[in-house]
C-alpha cells in the first residue's frame, strides 16, 4: 500500500534560526502517529508547513501521491488533510452549530445535501450533541477542542492533524478526549497525526512516535522503544541530569 503522506527533507528557516531541519517521514493509511518533542522543538511549525499555513524553505510534501507543498491551506484541506489548532480559534458570535456549518460548506462536504443535519450529527459524534444553540464564548476548553475536531471532521479528511489536543486539560477530560480520538481512528478509518509534548499521553494512544528536538527528527519507532531511546531521554531529562551532576 502506498504512503498517504510523504514528507521529504522539509526545512524551515526564520532568518538565522532553523525551526525545522531536514524532516523526512511517511504515514501509511490508518496510521496513528504522534510527534513528540519539548516546547520549541518545531512541532507546530512542521504542522503549519504540512497544512499550507507556512511555506517551507526547502523540501517536498506529497499527500495521496500529489505534491501539496505550494497549496493554500484551504486547498490542502480540500485534498483531505484537516487540522486543529493548539489555541482553539472558534468563530466568535456564532453558536456551536454555525461553527461546524462553516466547514460543512467546504467542497469535500458538498455531497451532504442537508448541511445542518450533518453538522448536528458531527456535534453528536464528538459529544456535543443537543447543544447546537449554545454560544462558543462560554464553552470550556475541553469542549472547544471537541468543536475543533467536529469542524475538521466536517471536511471529510483522510488525515487528521491534531495540535496538542490535551494541552490545558484535566486528567479526566484528557481521558475522555483520548477515547474520542481513538474511536474516530477506529470507526471513521482516519489516519491521525498528533502533536504532544508530554510522554505520558502518548503511551496509551499512538502506535508510532516521531520524536523531535531542536527542529530535527531524532528518533522514530513504537512508544515503548522511544522511551528507551537515548537521544529522546537526553532531550527530555538530559538537562535535569546535568543539574544533578553539577549540584
Amino acid at each position: 500500500m502506498s504512503d498517504l503522506l510523504e514528507v521529504n527533507g522539509v526545512t524551515k528557516r526564520f532568518g538565522g534560526l532553523t525551526a525545522v531541519k531536514n524532516a523526512s517521514f511517511t504515514l501509511k493509511k490508518g496510521d496513528f502517529t504522534g510527534i513528540l518533542g519539548p516546547n520549541g522543538a518545531g512541532k507546530t511549525t512542521l504542522f503549519n508547513i504540512l497544512t499550507g499555513f507556512m511555506p517551507p524553505t526547502a523540501g517536498s510534501i506529497h499527500f495521496n501521491g500529489e505534491l501539496v507543498r505550494d497549496l493554500a491551506p484551504y486547498q490542502v484541506v480540500n485534498r483531505g488533510m484537516a487540522r486543529t489548532f493548539q489555541l482553539t480559534r472558534p468563530f466568535i458570535g456564532m453558536n456551536l452549530l454555525e461553527n461546524v456549518l462553516v466547514a460543512c460548506m467546504s467542497p469535500r462536504a458538498s455531497q451532504d445535501k442537508d448541511k445542518e443535519a450533518r453538522a448536528r450529527h458531527l456535534l453528536a459524534q464528538v459529544g456535543l450533541g443537543g447543544r447546537d444553540k449554545e454560544p462558543v464564548e462560554t464553552l470550556p476548553y475541553g469542549d472547544l477542542r471537541r468543536l475543533e475536531i467536529a469542524r475538521a471532521l466536517a471536511t471529510r479528511p483522510d488525515l487528521l492533524l491534531l495540535d496538542e489536543p490535551f494541552a490545558g486539560l484535566g486528567s479526566s477530560e484528557i481521558e475522555q478526549l483520548a477515547q474520542l480520538i481513538r474511536r474516530l481512528h477506529r470507526e471513521e478509518n482516519l489516519t491521525i497525526l498528533l502533536i504532544e509534548h508530554k510522554l505520558r499521553e502518548f503511551m496509551a494512544l499512538v502506535s508510532r512516535v516521531i520524536a523531535m528536538n531542536f527542529g530535527e527528527i531524532i528518533a522514530v519507532g513504537p512508544p515503548d522503544e522511544i522511551v528507551k531511546n537515548e537521544k529522546v531521554i537526553e532531550a527530555y531529562i538530559g538537562k535535569t541530569e546535568d543539574s544533578y551532576a553539577s549540584a
Binding site: G93, M94, L101, M105, P107, R151
Partner: protein, 309 residues
C-alpha cells in the same frame, strides 16, 4: 439559520408602505425628490454593508462603484445617446468590472491594503475625471441624460422598488449559508482556511455583489439628477455611506438602509446650517463611535421586538 421572523417582515412592509405613500399624502415635488435620494442612499448603504459589514473588510472607496455606475449611465445616455434603459444593467457591469480590478489584487492580502487601495482608486478616478475633461466634461460633468420615467413620482416608486429588492436579496443572502461564511471570514480567516473555505473567492464575489448594487444605485442616481459630476467619486460620498451603515448597525443590511433614509432626511433638514452641515455630520459620527459602537437602528429594532419573537 437565522430565519426572517414575521415581525421583521411586517416591519419591512410598514416601512415600505410609509415610504410609498408619503409623497401621495404630502404632494410635493421637493419631498419626492428628497425621498428618491434617500432611497438611492439606502441602496448604497445596504450594498456596502453586505460586503464590508459581513466580512469586516472595510471598503473606503464605495464611491468608486457609485461613480462608475453613474458615469456609465452618463456616457451611454447623454454622449452615445443609447436607450436610457441600458444604463442600469451596464452600470452594474462596469462597477463589477472595477470591483474585480481592485478586489482581486488586494483581497488576497492581509492588512489594510484593500481599504487603502479602494480609497486611493476612487480619489484618483475623481482626479482623472477632471484631468480628462475633454471626455468627461471636467468639473461640470455630463449633462442631459434622458429620464427613465414620465414623472418624478413614478421614478421614486421605481427606485423604492429597487431598494426593496436590494434589501430583500442582500438580507436573504446574508442570512443564508453564504452569509454565514462571510461572517466566519470576519471572525477568523485562518480558521476558515482550516475549514476548507476559499476565503479570497468569497470575499471577491461578495465585493462584486456589493459593487453591482452600488453601480445600479449610481446609474439610478444619474438618471434622477440627469447629470453626473466628479464629486460622485469623492471620499465624502464613501464616508457618508459608511456613517449610515455604522448608524444602522453593521452587518444588518436593513439597519443600513433605514439609517441611510433617516440620515439623508436629516441632512436635508440641516440644509439651513449651510457649511456647518458636514461638521454636524462628522461630530455625529464621532459621538456614535464613542457611545454607540454597535450602531442605533438595528440594535433598537431588536430590542423593541424582542418580546414579540
Amino acid at each position: 439559520m437565522r430565519q426572517l421572523s414575521l415581525i421583521d417582515i411586517a416591519g419591512g412592509l410598514v416601512v415600505i408602505a410609509i415610504l410609498a405613500l408619503a409623497p401621495v399624502l404630502i404632494s410635493s415635488n421637493y419631498l419626492t425628490g428628497v425621498l428618491t435620494v434617500c432611497v438611492i442612499y439606502g441602496i448604497w448603504a445596504a450594498s456596502w454593508d453586505f460586503m464590508s459589514g459581513l466580512t469586516g473588510r472595510e471598503n473606503f472607496g464605495h464611491s468608486l462603484f457609485i461613480g462608475t455606475g453613474a458615469y456609465t449611465a452618463g456616457f451611454l445616455s447623454s454622449i452615445w445617446t443609447a436607450n436610457p434603459w441600458y444604463s442600469l444593467p451596464l452600470g452594474v457591469v462596469v462597477a463589477v468590472a472595477f470591483s474585480i480590478l481592485v478586489g482581486f489584487p488586494t483581497l488576497r492580502l492581509r492588512g489594510p491594503y484593500f481599504a487603502l487601495a479602494m480609497l486611493s482608486t476612487s480619489a484618483i478616478l475623481q482626479r482623472l475625471c477632471l484631468i480628462f475633461w475633454e471626455y468627461t466634461g471636467g468639473e461640470e460633468g455630463i449633462y442631459g441624460l434622458d429620464p427613465l420615467m414620465k414623472t418624478p413620482l413614478y421614478y421614486y416608486w421605481f427606485a423604492l422598488g429597487i431598494l426593496a429588492v436590494t434589501v430583500i436579496v442582500l438580507t436573504l443572502l446574508a442570512r443564508s449559508h453564504w452569509g454565514l461564511l462571510l461572517r466566519a471570514i470576519r471572525g477568523d480567516e485562518a480558521t476558515c482556511q482550516a475549514a476548507g473555505i476559499n476565503v479570497t473567492f468569497y470575499k471577491i464575489v461578495s465585493l462584486m455583489i456589493s459593487a453591482g448594487f452600488a453601480g445600479l444605485g449610481g446609474a439610478l442616481y444619474a438618471h434622477y439628477q440627469l447629470q453626473v459630476s466628479p464629486p460622485l467619486f469623492s471620499v465624502v460620498v464613501s464616508i457618508t455611506v459608511i456613517i449610515m451603515v455604522y448608524v444602522g448597525g453593521i452587518g444588518s443590511i436593513y439597519g443600513a438602509a433605514v439609517a441611510a433614509i433617516l440620515l439623508t432626511l436629516l441632512t436635508e433638514m440641516l440644509r439651513g446650517f449651510g457649511e456647518y452641515r458636514l461638521w454636524i455630520y462628522t461630530l455625529t459620527l464621532m459621538m456614535i463611535l464613542f457611545f454607540l459602537p454597535n450602531g442605533l437602528i438595528a440594535p433598537l429594532w431588536r430590542r423593541m421586538t424582542e418580546r414579540l419573537r
